[in-house]
């Protein structure tokens, strides 16, 4: 994913993609000094392998349904739900339905 420069004060659309979702890809929305924000697009049945990042993360499900597995348990997020992950926590993601989610990562220097 190419990372856009931060665009302060410029509204960024993060509406549900709806019918367009199946043809969309994950996209970096911006990267600033302290934050990286992306929209993750994951089709039903697809997954991200277990990974971790140094900084804290929020995952905000915009549409569809996804499962975040961490600490041996499954955490299902429906559209309009948000999950907080501490830094350095290994987690995997599985799309239970076609979904997109706003992922906000605190950059740790």
């Amino acid at each position: 994913m190419a990372i856009s420069h931060a665009l302060p004060l410029q509204p960024i659309d993060v509406q549900p993609l709806g019918d367009r979702l199946p043809s969309e890809k994950s996209v970096a929305l911006f990267k600033s000094e302290d934050l990286e924000v992306m929209r993750m697009v994951l089709l039903a049945g697809k997954s991200l392998p277990v990974h971790q990042v140094p900084g804290e993360v929020t995952i905000h499900c915009i549409e569809g349904r996804l499962d975040v597995t961490a600490e041996g348990a499954s955490h299902v997020l429906a559209a309009g739900q948000l999950l907080f992950l501490p830094g350095d926590l290994p987690h995997g993601v599985i799309a239970l339905a076609d979904c997109s989610a706003l992922v906000t990562i605190v950059l740790r220097k």
Copy 2:
């Protein structure tokens, strides 16, 4: 606003409040080591005076419409739009319609 402890891995509802909006108040969703996340509720015509915080901020309009004024210009956010604000940037907020927004603040030590 009382600040809840961070609740890692616990889904938090941030759906539109809809008809309930007029009777809801702004609420802190969680505060972690690096992040403070709240849902701001602002009724049409109400405003937050110009203020600033040390850390970077994202404002994600969940429903309604609001105006963020900064650097002498007005930046209108509709539902499903997100704005990035650098740290220490003075900004004011006016609700153009009854609105709620997810506000994510990076905590600067």
